[in-house]
Symmetry: C2
Subunit: 309 residues, 2 copies
């Protein structure tokens, strides 16, 4: 799956991933009204609205990008109905041949991690049958438990040819509270980065490991350090755009081969029509606004990478 | 909600919580067969089997205990159908007036944490209506993101009179890889414990804070330290029984008032009939085996607490 991701990044020339994190407030009024007319102002109605919103965006951008990253929390808040919309979204992105990174940030121990891995990346056994429940291609994982929390995820990845992105340094303002704590001379995130590189050695694709890392765009100096600590690790970079990251800040997250990082934008793409820059598209053509925002993001990143050569 | 939990612990004289973490392999054959006859060997059939299994156990033990802790991963692995069984289980435990601790170990940043909090502890707004999706009373939270990851959960807890248990020191063998790293003189878990105590001060019940901590039974010496670091924090203690913790090891997780800790057992209770000690009950009376295991656990803990006085 990491090979497929790298191939698709090369083909599209777009080292980006679009975060499908729909808040109901992003969904244009006409889509909400249609969903509510059919299902009422219910959890089912909300789920239908975000699914139709997603579908419009996917149809408009799928040829431009290698991957999407649905954030499960935005679906889970609507309960079982929301999770049905999550599943529909994952399935539809597979139909469009997009790599799907489930942003689930799960993490637990032993058989519990194994259950999450089975549900999101692998299969569960029921009697004499096996089923894939949510079947993403990659998921994000929290490292706080250490090796035997992450291990069951890696086992399933090996079996199913799937991958992970493990949180190393997150993009939020208080991420340093624990992640930057100095252990001897090194901050905690560097120890976590070393572990990610070590775990990744055991599950290599042809150029990069199936086991990737999450490093926030908002800490470019940390990105530079972690790039060296984890040379064969693909870095998923959240925090571009709405959270403040710009292309020029992110060149050091990439290797010299122009690969090694994939930059996420969520709100900046899916709610583009709400920004002044793209307001001319209007709510009716929200998906065209998203398409333009994708093109601009690709140009920004490739421009910065070109300039840095 | 912390007041209700403390009251119920006093009333039942049982500082324990039963982990409803059903693996399909725990579910007696006759329950599986009945569910599969109705729904086939499908995800729906698996979900029905674990729900009926849970219901039998809850009916048998609800009067003895203050709280249950369903582990969402065990439901999530069966996808949307599994999550329906999770929701049914939470609802049924509320009917039986049990405090429900959703073991979800979520954690993210800003609006994403807010979405998890809304879905599990609070309400989501759809048009002019509000809905509670999974509505547990407490949830477990991962602290890796720091204050602005945990903050949105605390905000919802304040509004809804709900609570959290934040991971401080987990019960698994490799928990020390990151959690035990020394920062100056202190291990990371102690810094996290200090933060939990600080966060908890802002949301106090009458004796204890709404913001609790998770400290594994398998590290009793750490429990002793963290008890002092977080005097007003309720400690949720996983790792009793199947993972090796015993009552006598756990007295220092409690305060002198005999309160301050609640010990979880999952497999040891719900799959009791599979242990030699309770094999006489047989698969047909699995719920009676669970009841006996609850009584034995209460006796073990209270005996140890009595002895330590």
């Amino acid at each position: 799956m990491i090979n497929k991701l790298v191939d698709k990044i090369k083909k599209t020339n777009a080292p980006i991933v679009v975060g499908l994190d729909p808040m109901l407030s992003y969904v244009p009024e006409h889509i909400q009204q249609k969903a509510f007319a059919e299902f009422g102002e219910t959890l089912e109605g909300a789920a239908e609205a975000i699914w139709q919103f997603n579908k419009g965006i996917i149809d408009s951008i799928y040829e431009l990008i290698p991957a999407v990253k649905p954030q499960i929390a935005m679906y889970e808040q609507f309960g079982v109905e929301g999770l049905k919309a999550f599943q529909k979204t994952v399935d539809y992105c597979h139909e469009k041949d997009l790599v799907v990174i489930g942003d689930i940030k799960r993490g637990d121990i032993g058989s519990t991690s194994a259950a999450y891995a089975a549900g999101h990346l692998g299969k569960v056994t029921v009697g004499s049958h096996q089923y894939s429940a949510f079947h993403e291609d990659f998921v994000t994982v929290n490292p706080y438990f250490g090796t035997d929390g992450v291990g069951p995820f890696i086992d399933v990845c090996k079996k199913e040819n799937k991958g992970l992105f493990i949180l190393v340094k997150t993009s939020n303002p208080s991420s340093g509270e624990f992640q930057d704590r100095l252990i001897g001379q090194k901050p905690l995130y560097e120890y976590v980065g070393e572990k990610v590189a070590e775990w990744g050695e055991g599950h290599m694709g042809s150029e990069y490991s199936y086991i990737g890392a999450v490093v926030g765009a908002t800490y470019p100096e940390v990105g530079k350090i972690l790039r060296k600590v984890m040379p064969k690790t693909y870095i998923l970079v959240p925090g571009y755009g709405a959270q403040g990251g710009k292309g020029a800040d992110l060149v050091h997250y990439f290797n010299e081969d122009g690969l090694g990082a994939i930059v996420n934008s969520s709100r900046g793409i899916i709610a583009a029509y709400k920004q002044e820059q793209y307001a001319k598209f209007g709510a009716a053509d929200y998906a065209d606004a998203s398409r333009q925002a994708v093109l601009d993001m690709i140009a920004d990143l490739n421009g910065a990478l070109q300039k840095a050569k």
